[in-house]
Assembly symmetry: C2
Homo-oligomer: 375 residues x 2
């Protein structure tokens, strides 16, 4: 357009901004580009000591209570996929960010952007699914605490209530069915504060379940791909696993992280950089389901970069590693838990993979947009 | 389409859902249709005792601390308008919901949905504006409290910090530049808990400033309308006004409400219904700026339904009404404060306007979509 010879003489020709000066899909990938956008465009203006920590959730003091707060906007496409939908995902994603700080989820808010023309039937299904996920979240958690004396105020028994909401409607073509923001509030136990910078050389790296299911399930549904075995999203609330780890292992759990956008690779890179340690993974130990491997081969993806929404990475002291795996395996969500590597003092900030054939390769952060809009 | 004679024989004809079974723009208006959508599609699944209160913000107990939480997604179009932009509006809108519960704003979260192709220059301006609004919010509040002993934990001195955030990117044409969700957390003073159902017959109805500026400013910018006198949005943080009312009038302040989507008319209708009282307004007392009146006449709008983002309605005991007006007028934001009507025991749930020519007309809730996407 800018160079069109038809451009009326005498008028100045509008110069469109260079593509590097515009938002690109890769800025939402959860990898390098996202990190740069956040650093250059948000932290430049907004920085404060809480935000600067860049943890999954912010830790705040309110009177004598320590809480965790996390916010997430969900734009997953399509709205419904095998194993979940944007409603349940909005609950799991935000509550898991709290759980990764060791925080027991207490309350949530929900903000909807709806596209004009969205079928109310679809909205109904999504809201019902969101409600079910919220009602089921934290059930075990609340039952399991002997010292629960009503500290949670108005929290609804056996679930995480949506305490306030908002609905906006935009014209056709200004949204993609619906987007949902959820913000969660959780209560922090001062004796249990896992954090990325706490990883120490010698620690074991554990994953709680099969890798790569969410990203592949969403991608397959979006693109209409059919595999021999359907891959279902792993989306689930991780609090029950965290609670069991806390009760059994306590502060020997150094780091918890849910490997969502950017996958296991990006999550481990963030930990390695934050704690200034190296991380070594064993390819042979990675629990990657055969259908995920097959789909990744077909699509040219690396499963380590595929998003998960129902597994966690736990970095624990080496002497409790096998106990931690057993604790995870005692819950259905953790049945496939495994030690996948260890923290080392060499190669600070780097994640290395010992391949099945005996070689070693560096597993960098995701750069670009392998799988946009998976959450 | 459904009745097209060209539809291939033998194939079943897809029946598109009736328009009444789809989301319509009016569902986002903040009026009757929004109320119905929320009741039928959200409360049907999500109801709990906190959500059921339908106040501007939820009130939660965390240990011994009582907090207010509010969430809002902003989809204003255009992103920038006279007197503000989507960034500053995202701060003012959410913090004002807290203030209307008497809660001092402490913390905020921010979740961005960005459209591929958005100029980073625009993003920069909006984020800088959001940061400025957050830094300026609550300054007076924090200074003014003699008993502030650091109760606010990690809160940043002289502002409301953004403590966590999220960024998603969607493809071109799947958003309108950007949408921003903000969620705010505020601290409630148990001795000051204004609430819509507390309106009592005999109370005075006060408005803190000129009516209708925000909606007209946004609409004029969007449609490229030019008036003799430009109308600027009133968007501002109302906490300083609330704090002054609290300190001077205390619990004789029965109700606080910011008349945003749906305007003064919808806010008063909600109060009348909630408290089961009638409300009488005097047309002669309404502070409607001449340029707003002129624009409304031109566009066929009623200023009582036009959104405001920087004024509040206070319903106070009659004997403190003139004091309350003076307190409001002592701050620049409240310079045009005025008593505009009173609460009556007749006509429960109804808002009536005594017109300038001596008649009376019922001022119903907004029905339909007078001004979509003004916040």
């Amino acid at each position: 357009m800018a160079d069109s010879p038809d451009f009326p003489q005498g008028m100045s020709c509008p110069t469109p901004a260079n593509d590097t000066e515009r938002v690109q899909l890769g800025h939402g990938s959860g990898g390098k580009q996202t990190a740069m956008l956040v650093r250059d465009r948000f932290f430049a203006w907004l920085s404060n000591e809480i935000l600067a920590k860049q943890t999954d959730a912010a830790v705040l003091n309110l009177g004598s209570t320590k809480i965790a707060v996390s916010t997430d906007t969900f734009v997953v496409k399509p709205l419904e996929f095998p194993g979940g939908d944007i409603g349940s995902l909005s609950v799991h994603g935000t509550l898991n960010d709290l759980a990764m700080m060791g925080a027991e989820p207490l309350y949530m808010t929900a903000g909807f952007v709806l596209e004009e023309g969205l079928e109310l039937e679809v909205l109904d299904r999504v809201v019902a699914s969101l409600a079910r996920a919220a009602a089921e979240a934290g059930v075990e958690g609340r039952k399991g605490r002997a010292d629960d004396t009503g500290d949670t105020g108005g929290a609804v028994e056996g679930g995480v209530p949506i305490v306030c909401g908002d609905t906006k409607v935009v014209e056709r073509g200004k949204c993609d069915g619906m987007y949902i923001n959820t913000t969660g509030i959780g209560q922090i136990d001062p004796a249990f504060t896992p954090s990325p910078e706490k990883a120490r050389p010698g620690d074991a790296v554990i994953v709680s379940g099969p890798i790569g299911r969410h990203g592949i399930a969403v991608m397959a549904q979006r693109e209409g791909l059919e595999f021999d075995v359907e891959v279902e999203s792993d989306a689930a609330t991780l609090w029950p696993l965290v609670e069991r780890l806390r009760d059994a292992i306590g502060d020997a759990v150094h780091v918890l992280r849910d490997p969502t956008r950017g996958g296991v690779a990006s999550a481990l890179n963030e930990i390695a950089q934050s704690a200034e340690v190296g991380i070594e993974l064993n390819e042979n130990s990675l629990p990657i389901p055969q259908p995920v491997l097959a789909a990744c081969e077909l699509l040219g993806f690396d499963p380590l970069y595929v998003a998960n929404e129902g597994i966690l990475i736990a970095i624990v002291e080496e002497h409790v590693a096998s106990d931690a795996v057993k604790v995870l395996q005692s819950h259905p969500l953790g049945a496939a838990a495994a030690i996948i590597g260890r923290v080392v003092s060499t190669n600070s900030g780097i994640v290395a993979l010992k391949t099945a054939v005996g070689g070693t390769r560096v597993v960098d952060m995701l750069s670009g947009d392998q799988l946009p809009r998976i959450c």
